[in-house]
């Protein structure tokens, strides 16, 4: 079982949303990390075959998924970033409807739907209308429908949005149990979602893969660049404005413990700290703006823009 992304590119006019992304995915969990506008959703839509690439292709076991058509969709499970529901549906109606579209045998659909609803913590809610669900409940319902057909390729776009910490842990356990003989591609901008369950992390920025590898391996990219220091609260605020500060813990004494990603010791007395994936994320996306405006690289006239990382 192998999913190959071969120089996938997606352009919207002059904007390049995904730029020549290549990867070879085998069974396991792949965490796709990136800020808003990095191209994650566009990439995932192309992997699912619902958005045509401008160039490049997705292949499953050597065969282009565009040619496979329904054969590929039969082994695919997908949870979009934003998904809706029919207002008149109950949770069980929704699951059985999706089971019908996924070709799950009708006799098994109900049994499987109820089992999955219990698995995601919605036992007892099956007769309730989806429109009365909280955001977290709807997200869990979305996760449940994604695995209805026991997919071989599971694509989850921001699956933990709206989930509380306890639900997030439950979700991680669920994904870890599903990934044994599946390809799971999971996008998020919350590092802790993938830090412990991903076999490989892929970091995207402006449509390109900028870093990829096992979590332990890529974290070494910020080895020696993570510092912890004890400063005054005012100094902590000042540091936050000019440096990449990962965490500030204010103390009652008027001081603060800060964690900073920087090339050199940021303040006197700063000591090196063991880097984490979150530190790496902050380092890679240090100059990203906080707004949610979509961004893509603009193609230079007459030639491909250079840079980027290929698998």
């Amino acid at each position: 079982m192998e999913l190959t992304l071969d120089r996938l590119t997606r352009e919207y006019g002059p904007k390049i949303a995904v730029d020549r992304v290549s990867a070879r995915l085998t069974p396991g969990v792949y965490g796709l990390l990136g800020a808003n506008g990095a191209g994650k959703t566009t990439l995932m839509r192309m992997v699912c075959g619902i958005l045509r690439p401008t160039s490049g292709e997705v292949r499953y076991d050597g065969r282009p998924v565009a040619q496979m058509g329904d054969a590929y969709r039969a082994l695919l499970g997908y949870l979009p970033q934003d998904f809706g529901y029919y207002p008149e549906f109950t949770a069980l109606d929704f699951m059985e409807y999706m089971a019908a579209l996924k070709g799950v045998d009708r006799r098994l659909a109900r049994e499987r739907s109820l089992a999955l609803l219990e698995e995601v913590g919605l036992a007892g809610e099956e007769r309730r209308r989806v429109r009365t669900f909280s955001g977290g409940m709807r997200q869990r319902l979305g996760i449940a429908q994604a695995v209805l057909n026991e997919p071989e390729v599971l694509v989850l776009d921001e699956p933990t949005a709206g989930l509380d910490p306890k639900e997030r842990v439950r979700f991680r356990n669920l994904i870890a149990s599903l990934a044994k003989d599946r390809i799971v591609l999971l996008s998020t901008h919350i590092v802790s979602d993938v830090e412990y369950i991903a076999d490989k992390i892929v970091m995207m920025r402006a449509g390109q893969v900028v870093l990829e590898g096992a979590p332990g391996e890529i974290v070494s990219a910020v080895e020696g660049r993570v510092w912890e220091a004890r400063v005054s609260a005012a100094e902590a605020d000042a540091l936050s404005t000019r440096l990449t500060v990962g965490n500030v813990h204010y103390l009652e004494s008027g001081e603060a413990l800060v964690r900073i990603v920087a090339e050199e010791p940021p303040v006197a007395g700063a000591r090196r700290a063991e880097p984490t994936l979150e530190d790496l994320y902050l380092h890679v996306f240090a100059d990203e703006r906080d707004d949610d405006a979509p961004r893509g690289r603009v193609r230079a006239r007459g030639r491909h823009a250079k840079g980027g990382h290929h698998a």
């Binding site: 949303a17 566009t42 050597g62 969709r73 499987r112 026991e150």
Partner: protein, 262 residues
């Protein structure tokens, strides 16, 4: 969790492994042996879920029929009641025209609901994808309308030819459907249902109001014009149906806004 559809996977896995070995051992230019590819295809097809039109139609019936059938019944009952009450020819035809547009309004609410409620992305990635779903809904609502047409023609007075009833009922229905689909396709997803229903509602109101403005429109002499309008509306509707199905399979293609590049 209980496994489904695992039979035959051992054989298929062996074939897949042979195929993989071939790719890794040789340059891709030659390609794998045709018989090996065909064997993998057969193995994959044997374990692929078998779904057909009955399953698809059954899955969509719940979303379409509860909207269409009551309105259809209302239209048929109205025509039958007017016949029993001895209504004039014009009154029966006005009622039929309005019922046709109303039928379209009910049909559009089912056909467009996937887009309006943000379900197309989920449906697009399923075995029975968004295009299949759209096709099934159009087929179901079209069948309901065809039955409505036939029953209205049967319920109408003997002095009213069936083709006249069909034209009076069909023209507003097809105009409402065509315009509704066009409006829904052009509108943003969240507004698509409202756009479609507004168009259909306006068509329904116009069908009823035109009688008070120009009664001659419902006179016997205009039967041919109505038939012509129905044919033209049918062609327009066919075009909009084709565009709607095309849009269903290309939901995320340009002119997707740049905000989709996320």
């Amino acid at each position: 969790m209980r496994a489904l559809g695992r039979r035959g996977r051992g054989t298929e896995r062996e074939l897949e492994e042979r195929l993989r070995e071939h790719y890794r051992a040789f340059a891709p230019e030659g390609g794998p042996p045709e018989e090996l590819l065909a064997a993998v295809d057969r193995a994959a097809a044997s374990r692929r879920p078998q779904v057909g039109w009955p399953t698809l139609l059954a899955s969509q019936a719940r979303l379409v029929l509860p909207r269409c059938v009551p309105v259809a019944a209302l239209g048929i009952a109205l025509v039958a009641l007017l016949e029993l009450a001895g209504a004039s020819r014009a009154e029966t035809l006005v009622a039929a025209s309005a019922a046709g547009a109303l039928q379209a309004l009910a049909a559009l609410s089912g056909v467009v609901s996937g887009r309006a409620h943000g379900m197309t992305e989920l449906e697009a990635a399923c075995l029975l994808n968004a295009r299949s779903v759209a096709c099934a809904r159009l087929l179901l609502s079209g069948c309901v309308c065809a039955v409505t047409l036939a029953l209205c023609a049967a319920a109408s007075p003997p002095t009213l030819p069936a083709w006249v009833m069909a034209a009076r009922l069909g023209a507003p229905y097809l105009i409402a459907c065509a315009g509704g689909l066009a409006a829904a396709r052009r509108a943003a997803s969240a507004d698509s249902l409202v756009a479609a229903l507004v168009w259909a509602g306006v068509t329904c109101a116009a069908s009823a109001l035109v009688y008070s403005v120009t009664p001659a429109v419902y006179a016997r002499a205009s039967d041919g014009l109505w038939a012509g309008a129905a044919v033209a509306a049918l062609l327009w509707c066919a075009r909009e149906v084709a565009l709607w199905l095309r849009a269903a399979s290309l939901s995320f293609e340009p002119a997707a806004p740049l905000a989709d590049a996320s």
